[in-house]
Amino acid sequence: MIEIDIRFHRSDFKLDFKQSLSEPVTGLFGASGSGKSTLLGLIAGFISPNDGCIKLDDVVLFDRNKSVNLPPHKRKVATVFQDGRLLPHLNVKDNLLFGFKLTPEQDRCIDFEVVTSLLEIEGLLAKRVHELSGGETQRVALGRALLMSPKLLLLDEPLSSLDVRLKQQILPFLKRIKDEVNIPMIYVSHDKDEINYLADKVFELTN
């Protein structure tokens, strides 16, 4: 369960958001510039709200009044970005293990083999990142995020750089993660069909 009650403003941009999200997948829908990615950035800790608080289960991630602002690496919130952002100096396997290795053993809740077979990327492990197709890149990025055993998974338009055919190929993987891995997700997209397919509850952001 994530409780968000924040106010954020920068020059001509303003975002107020107050919701408790407890569904397995929450969809955030809105046109570009409506602040979807900003909201994810605020939850992940890349940017800080001007006021308010964010709580994930029992952990306070941000609280202006109590001067709490956990840095991103301590939040256990993983983000899958639109552009994958795999590390180009590591091969697929080392990318997948990047967050896994940083997670203490007792906190790991998902197996390497489970993830690679779920996403059907077992055959890609030895490949270099630049040898992957767009769809493969996003599957590896997804696996990498899952393997850090996050308490919350943020998906920031993970399919928008793919064509329609590839989107149709990846969506079932996301569905599979939702059904088989018990990690709550916030899914951001400007594509209503994608969101309706995955999300249990949808919010629309308007600016």
Partner: protein
């Protein structure tokens, strides 16, 4: 005039060569980590007095080398501000020793290493660093596991530039540590000495050739390592 003995190095020449390599190696080791730290600071951080700090780091590039040499003598000479204390407290003498030659060339080589490393670090896509953070990497781990490996070609270039600068260092060295055979007479100082000696041209020429060979080797090595690093990252 030129016969086969032309290629045989005399004892003094070998001494100058090994001393140069020793000084350049220690110089490179000495500045490696501080230069990377300063490069990171300049590439990634904003702070009060940054332009002044930037200027101070780079000033040895612009000054006549004799100036840093003289300042080092004032600071680290046996009667100098710090040198006197080092000498009286620990019995350490830096001026007119090979360690002083290391420091003189370190001051001159430092900005070159910083420049090359800084440029490489600022070219690393900060989106990748953010992604690594979100996967649980602390700022230090992000630097060691993402930023540094991705800027490796620039770091390698910087190291080789620093090594070569140190090999060629003349002005600051001769001002700070003099030209003492076996102690501070590096390749360039030996060449200079031979040119001042009657009939020293042949020996000077041998050392000049040697310097050219070393310089060429450094450039070839630098290009090779850079290509290798770039290939590893899939940029080729």
């Amino acid at each position: 005039m030129i016969d086969s003995t032309f290629l045989v190095l005399s004892h003094a020449e070998i001494e100058a060569l090994t001393l140069s390599v020793k000084v350049a190696t220690f110089c490179t080791l000495l500045i490696c980590i501080p230069a990377i730290a300063v490069a990171w600071l300049l590439a990634k951080k904003t702070f009060i007095g940054k332009s002044l700090f930037d200027g101070l780091v780079h000033i040895p590039l612009i000054l006549p080398p004799v100036v840093p040499g003289f300042l080092l003598l004032i600071l680290l000479g046996n009667q100098g501000l710090i040198g006197k204390w080092l000498h009286e407290t620990f019995g350490i003498t830096i001026a007119f020793t090979w360690m002083g030659a290391v420091i003189a060339s370190a001051v001159m080589a430092f900005p070159l290493m910083v420049r090359s490393t800084r440029q490489a670090i600022s070219q690393v896509d900060s989106k990748l660093e953010i992604a690594a953070q979100s996967l649980g990497a602390s700022p230090l781990k992000v630097f060691l596991n993402v930023t540094l490996p991705l800027s490796l070609p620039g770091v390698i270039t910087g190291l080789i530039l620093a090594f070569s600068r140190s090999l060629g260092e003349f002005g600051a060295t001769i001002t700070f540590v003099g030209n003492i055979e076996g102690e501070t007479r590096t390749l360039p100082l030996a060449i200079y000495s031979f040119t001042q000696t009657p009939n020293g041209d042949l020996a000077a020429m041998r050392l000049v050739l040697l310097s050219v060979l070393i310089a060429l080797a450094a450039i070839v090595l630098s290009n090779h390592l850079e290509r290798k690093a770039a290939k590893k990252m899939g940029r080729v």
